[in-house]
Symmetry: C2
Subunit: 172 residues, 2 copies
DNA sequence: TGATAATCGTTGCAAGTGAAACGATTTTGA
DNA sequence: TCAAAATCGTTTCACTTGCAACGATTATCA
């Protein structure tokens, strides 16, 4: 019976989970030990840092984080002086979140380290292999999208208008 | 400045994490909603099901789970009648964990569904692409192993002697 | 216009997780 | 032989997470 041959360590969902966990754990040493950020905080900060003012929901839509996680991450980042929060004038339900100078400084310190880690990961890959990896991952997402009860997928970055790096005072 | 170009949605650790989370969430509907298992319980059950008696530490070494998670998963699975726990005669510190008939029944029901899900995931891949995916993942693990402060990697299945399938009364 | 529905961000709460500590047992080594 | 160290599985505790509910605000449309 085929069921008896089931081997967890060769099971793709498990393998992906283990690999992802190991990578996340290693990366978290960069933003965690050195900068005191949690994973949600890291994601929110780097996402907001290169954007215009954003609402919690917009971050929630763009980054793979639950709304409460975004809310709490933003609160902590604000307390740390890395983000600034204001209630929107046009719609008082919304908050406008933007990076501060201190947040941008931290961003500029942390991002090269994160990119170096990513570069180290794929250092042994050829360009073709890197492309292949991204292609295969993309196609796995496509399958998930087709499945019934498909779990939510964060918006692609290109689906939102890319804003200028934060210092510009933008007309509306 | 390169740091300003940082794009979270193209950052490999993030992409892997999102993909892995989506897949795990979909898979958990199989063993969760239908069979009432948590992820640690699912992993422990299917790992033990095709093995001889194992200790908590052996499961911890083989599966990517912390020792407390294994302990708690085993406790719940025992309470559910899916695993049996005995203190080892030779060494009273150890417990011998093995699957019960009920656990094996559940195993035989759940594994085909899990395999079907995995098959659906890679259904659009050629054999070469499947091999390529596993190869790329394996090489990412290799990089992680070389890194300083490398996080623990679970033992390969082949590094432990494969035990007989517990239910010998099932030819075919 | 006004009642209802929808949306926003936050909070409460239950469940899960990881690191450390613990008692029990075995191994080590003087 | 026996005290110290190591190992085992469990438990404790602080922390995180996801879901639902909430108050506040805005949108809908009869």
């Amino acid at each position: 019976m085929t069921a008896n041959d089931f081997n967890l360590s060769e099971f793709l969902p498990y393998k992906l989970s283990v690999l992802s966990s190991r990578i996340t754990k290693m990366l978290s040493k960069v933003y965690g030990e050195e900068y005191g950020l949690s994973t949600p905080e890291w994601r929110v900060l780097v996402h907001v840092a290169r954007r215009e003012k954003m609402s919690v929901r917009e971050i929630h839509d763009s980054v793979y984080l639950e709304k409460p996680s975004v809310s709490r991450a933003v609160a902590k980042l604000e307390k740390a002086g890395l983000l600034a929060k204001t209630t929107c004038d046009k719609d008082h339900r919304l908050v406008e979140i933007e990076v501060t100078d201190a947040g941008l400084d931290l961003f500029h310190g942390i991002v090269p380290e994160a990119l170096a880690f990513e570069a180290a990961l794929v250092s042994a890959f050829s360009d073709a292999e890197r492309h292949q990896l991204h292609n295969l991952m993309e196609r796995l997402h496509d399958v998930l999208d087709m499945l019934p009860n498909a779990t939510r997928r964060p918006q692609m970055d290109s689906e939102r208008p890319t804003a200028l790096p934060n210092d510009a005072s933008q007309p509306r």
